[in-house]
Every structure is written in structure tokens, then in C-alpha cells.
Symmetry: C2
Subunit: 268 residues, 2 copies
């Protein structure tokens, strides 16, 4: 089982779009995939047409032991499931702030659950490096970093590097950045080309130092800007349900194959 | 003096791009404008080429009374200034969480400062409705809501409505939503047209009920997608410095005129 946190503290870079469509692509290739929505804004859940009420079982209830994963989980397709979020998660960061081992609450909740039948768990994180994201970082082995090739993308990189370093040292020695995925890419613009080369260079430099980023890969696949990807959530569908022949579907399919290939290499 | 918080808990919808370029446009029309960067990721500061070190005076030091606004402020042009942020603000939400009157810390800090010579204070907020954003909501009179015309935009609206209602009732009776500004607009797409009409309808419904949103206006100006707006930050410039003839400059100039016209109407 591979557990991947989709992380970037910058807003609107395609974390949710990637979490949902990557999991969907992997499930389309025959892997059982579980999407874990860890954002109080519940966008991954909304993307799939799931609008929880405050009383419905969510990932918050799983974390606070009011509900099991099995009870909160929602089946989307035979091979794709969702552990949904709702607004209660917003309270979690405050409430859990003073708990002992507050960064391990999600990991413990998942450990108690029967999840072995899943090949992939994909955690969609909010745009911050707060307590919820830290919980994701201790619960997974891999980080997938979606990045929009815009100027501020690079600034977030070094801050994320520091955070993952700390987490890997103190809280989760298995953690590493597996891959960076360029999203919302407009391939013929100069800005895109400049940021791409800066990101490559950054990863090159990082590979020289022992750290969770040492083997980080910039995926060859670029997720191109494609309005279909923005339309699919308004129908509660993945891109493969909504527009299977679109560039969006094609790109996420390729990204999934690359990520799956990485997994098999690492486990040899 | 008009104080405007630029707010949207959704990530990457153009809050920072709007805060910087709107303030710049207003200053270009002869108003003195101060941009207040309230995001720990300091994107408004970075956008203007300001990279504070941890020891430099920032809005965090102003809020914790280690520095005056005058000392922390940076002049960008004769009529445009910035109160910059740095990573120390990330600690603020935790540190200030247990302070008495924790939602009023920014307001009190601004009240102690000599800011009357400014016509506009524009506060750039992070993508959350946490303590920093609440501090913005109690320190200002108006909210400007940038929205990308995508599906999830609407979902954030009702949550933001609830939060502003609560703040207006309990913490700041002067607060109201002045305007919604559609950003990153791709005018010929069906998604854009659908979300625009949903937003109009939402505001119509809200106008029937007494609330901070009762007189909220959907600005006529649309900020169109324009790569120049994404390139300007990589040169540390506003759109008016970087590409004064671009659509981006033209659109933010129009938006500034609309917002200024709203201000003069309201004060009659
Ligand atoms: N490749 C793409 N082409 C076009 N639109 C896209 C693409 N990827 C994402 N979008 C749209 O852009 C917006 C932001 O994407 P998304 O919500 O996935 O980002 P995010 O990083 O999860 O944001 P947040 O920080 O708020 O969690 C959404 O409306 C989404 O539908
Ligand atoms: N109209 C536009 N056309 C093209 N690019 C834009 C436009 N507006 C903003 N951008 C770019 O899109 C990205 C997101 O914009 P911005 O950072 O202003 O959003 P934000 O709401 O402040 O994000 P966050 O939630 O992270 O604070 C930035 O790289 C910015 O340069
Ligand atoms: Mg998201
Ligand atoms: Mg911003």
C-alpha cells in the first residue's frame, strides 16, 4: 500500500484536482484507491458530488474516534472510495492543538482501520502547513507536490523543504518527497519555461544533500490547463467520467502511470 | 479613509494580485494607498520585491507591539506603501489564540498608528477564515471578494456569508461586503457564464435580507486571465510598472475606478 499526501501551502495550484483525478486514474488502471479529504473546505468531497451535513460521518469523526473509517467511507466506483470531510474539520486544528501527539492523530486513526486492501491512499491537504497538513505528513510515506509554474511557486518550495525536513527528522523518518507535478501548465509561455527550469535546478541541488527530497523527481507529465478539469466538479465527476477524451484525462492518466512506475522502482 | 479586506478562503483566486494591483491603481489615480500583507506566506510583499528576513520589522511586530507601523512600513512609490509580512506571522495564529480580544489585535495596532494620511488601506488575507482573517474583518469596514468563476467559488460564498454575519453581529457592526470582483476570468467559457449568473443570483437573494451583504455589488469589471499579471511578481513590480498597456493593467484600473465610485456613493 502506498500512502501519498498531496501538499502545497500555496492556494489554488491543483491539489484537489490532482488528488481526485490521480486516484481516479490509478483506480482505472486496476488499483484500489482511497481519497482522504483533509481540507475543512471539503473540496475533494464536493468535487465528487458529496455534500456532507454537519452530522454525517467524516474524516473528523474518524480522527476523534467517533466513527470508523469503514462507516465514514463512501464508495465512488468499485475501485475508488472517498473518506469525506466537512466543516467540522475547521475546528480540529484548534481542538487538537493541545492533544498529546497532536501530529499523529490521523496516523493512529488509519492504523486502527482495515485499509490493507487499498493499493493507494491519496490525502488532499488544505493550503497551509498547519496541524492538518502535519497530520498528513506523519501518516504517509510519500509527498506529491503539485505546482503551478508561476513565480511564487518557487518561494513555497524552500519553506516546504524546511517543514518536511523537520517532520522527517522528528516525526516520520519514512517520509520523502516522491514527485513534483507541474499543473495548470501553459506550455508555450516564457514564465512557464522559466519556472520549470528553476524547479529542475532546485531539485538537482536538493539531490546532493541527504534529506527527504534527495530522490525527488520532477514528473515528465505536465497537467495542461484544460477547462474540462474545472467543469468536472460542477457535475460531481472525475475527469474520466466527465470528459474521458480530454487533455485533462490524458494528462492525469499519464501522471498516474509515472507515479505507479516510481512506486514499483522504489520497492525493489 | 477607507479600509478594505481582500478575502476569500479559497486558494489561488487572485487575492494577492488584486490587493497589490488595486492599491497600485488607486495610488495612480492620486489616492494614498497602503497595502497590508496579512499572509504568513508574504506573497504581497514578495510580489513587490520585498523579501523580509526573520529579524526585519513586519506586520507581526506591529501586532505584537515590537514595532510601530511607521518603522515597519516600506515606501513603494510616493503614493503607495506596504506594511510587509514574513514567516513570523505563521506563529501568530497559535500565539495569539489565547489572548484576550484576540480578534482585535490588528485593529488596536492600527488605531495606535498615524494612518489618517492614507485614503485606502488594503489588507491581503491568507486562504483561510482563521484568526488572521478575523483580525482583518474587525479592522476594516469593507470586504472585497475576488472570485474565480469556477464551480467551487460558489461553495465558499455561503460559508463566507456565515462568518461575516457572525463578525458583524459580535465584533464589528460597521462591516459589510462592498463588492465581488470576478478574477482570472475566461469570458467565453460556459463555466464562467454559469458561475457569473449564479453569483449574481446569490447576491440578489442576499440583498433581500438585512446582513453585511445586503448592498453587495458584483463589479462590472472582470479581471481577465492575462499572463502579464502572473509575470509581474517575478520582477517585483505592479502591473502598472511591468506592463502598463496590458489587459491586466486596464482591468485593474477599471476595477479601481468602480470601487472608488462606490466609496463616494456610500459616504453621501
Ligand atoms: N489543469 C487545470 N486546468 C484548468 N482548471 C484547473 C486545472 N486544475 C485545476 N483547475 C481549477 O482551478 C481551481 C483550483 O484548483 P484546485 O481547487 O484543485 O486547487 P487547490 O490547490 O486544491 O486549491 P486550494 O488551495 O484552495 O485547496 C479549481 O476551480 C479547479 O477546477
Ligand atoms: N488575471 C490573472 N491572469 C493570470 N494569472 C493570474 C491572474 N490573477 C492572478 N494570477 C496568478 O495566479 C496565481 C494565483 O494568484 P494569487 O496569488 O493572487 O491568488 P491568491 O488568492 O492570493 O492565492 P492564495 O490563496 O495562495 O493567497 C499567481 O501566480 C498569480 O500571479
Ligand atoms: Mg484544494
Ligand atoms: Mg495570496
Amino acid at each position: 500500500m502506498r500512502k501519498i499526501a498531496v501538499i502545497n501551502q500555496k492556494g489554488g495550484v491543483g491539489k484537489t484536482t490532482t488528488s481526485v483525478n490521480l486516484a481516479a486514474a490509478l483506480s482505472g488502471h486496476g488499483h484500489r484507491a482511497l481519497i482522504l479529504d483533509l481540507d475543512p473546505q471539503a473540496h475533494a468531497s464536493l468535487h465528487l458530488g458529496i455534500h456532507l451535513g454537519e452530522d454525517d460521518a467524516s474524516v473528523y469523526d474518524v480522527m476523534t474516534q467517533r466513527s470508523s473509517v469503514a462507516d465514514a467511507m463512501i464508495r465512488i466506483t468499485p475501485k475508488l472510495a472517498l473518506l469525506p470531510a466537512n466543516i467540522n474539520l475547521a475546528a480540529a486544528e484548534m481542538e487538537l492543538a493541545s492533544e498529546v501527539g497532536r501530529e499523529f492523530i490521523l496516523r493512529d486513526a488509519l492504523d486502527r482501520s482495515y485499509l490493507d486492501l487499498y493499493d493507494y491512499i491519496i490525502v488532499d491537504c488544505p493550503p497551509s502547513l498547519g496541524l492538518l497538513t502535519l497530520n498528513a505528513l506523519t501518516a504517509v510515506d510519500d509527498i506529491l507536490l503539485p505546482m503551478q509554474p508561476h513565480y511564487l511557486a518557487l518561494h513555497g518550495l524552500s519553506q516546504l523543504l524546511q517543514t518536511t525536513d523537520l517532520v522527517a527528522k522528528r516525526l516520520n523518518t519514512d517520509l520523502r518527497l516522491a514527485a513534483v507535478l507541474l499543473t495548470m501548465s501553459e506550455p508555450n509561455t516564457r514564465l512557464c519555461a522559466e519556472v520549470e527550469s528553476d524547479v529542475s535546478e532546485f531539485l538537482q541541488t536538493a539531490s546532493a544533500v541527504e534529506s527527504p527530497w534527495q530522490h525527488a523527481r520532477l514528473l515528465d507529465t505536465r497537467i495542461r490547463k484544460n477547462i474540462k478539469l474545472a467543469e468536472a466538479p460542477s457535475f460531481g465527476q472525475t475527469i474520466f467520467q466527465y470528459a474521458p477524451d480530454s487533455n485533462g484525462a490524458c494528462d492525469y492518466d499519464r501522471a498516474a502511470k509515472e507515479i505507479d512506475a516510481l512506486a514499483r522502482v522504489d520497492s525493489e
